[in-house]
Symmetry: C2
């Protein structure tokens, strides 16, 4: 199943929030679409190093992810591609949509000069870990989070 990848529009946001919230782990911490999500969208739009992307099929948004291009000093001044909030419609999983999205993200990262992609995935998502390993990712790091 082939999807079209494109920048998210403001009109996509309610659907994006629903996709992000559509699992047990994320539901409680995402909530239903409101002004806070709109403010987040506007902040992404205002930052040239951030891109919110959707996967579309037959005019419907079926996936989403956020890309951040992070300049740095390590690894010979490498720019990194950070991938966050990757989601595919739960009714359409296992059909290669996530793979198309990630390959597109890597291409976009290379176009922006990134030499490394990185992401974290909740330890409770073993299927996602298998998916990222299948794309060639090394599961080399521990991921830490702290509410501020």
């Amino acid at each position: 199943m082939t999807v079209l990848l494109r920048p998210a529009r403001r009109a996509d946001l309610a659907r994006i929030v629903a996709l992000i919230a559509d699992d047990e782990i994320s539901a409680a911490r995402t909530g239903t679409f409101d002004d806070a999500h709109l403010a987040g969208f506007d902040a992404i739009e205002a930052d040239p190093n951030n891109e919110l992307v959707v996967a579309e099929r037959d005019g419907e948004v079926v996936g989403t992810m956020q890309l951040t291009f992070v300049p740095g000093i390590s690894r010979y001044g490498a720019t990194r591609l950070l991938v966050e909030a990757v989601r595919v419609d739960s009714r359409l999983r296992g059909q290669g949509i996530g793979r198309q999205m990630m390959l597109w993200a890597h291409e976009r990262g290379r176009a922006r000069g990134c030499v490394l992609a990185q992401l974290t995935s909740d330890k409770r998502r073993p299927d996602a870990h298998r998916f990222y390993r299948s794309l060639g990712y090394a599961q080399s790091h521990e991921g830490f989070k702290l509410p501020l």
Copy 2:
């Protein structure tokens, strides 16, 4: 031992690169100071959502870290504080410098509206993992990397 935290200057960069390279895991992938690191520094300087920070004691740089403020949709449109490339002079570890740096980073993140801090640490660094847990971080995620 109290340190002063301040934005990095271009003149600090050779020292920062040496700090980042000063361990077995990072040495090979950081290299010695050259134009590539300067380009990385300039890219950080040009991005209002990135800050390279140093810890200074008696006029000497003894630690470094990079902060990235990442807008987002998840967690009610939360902005995240991403902390990368945290290093303390290997001769001065265990004296609370890293803790001062991280607490400063969290304060800076809050001032920038961040509600969550996140970082990854190589699985070969168990001492670092213990340190982050001692700061209250949840070791909740797997971290993945892919060369592009």
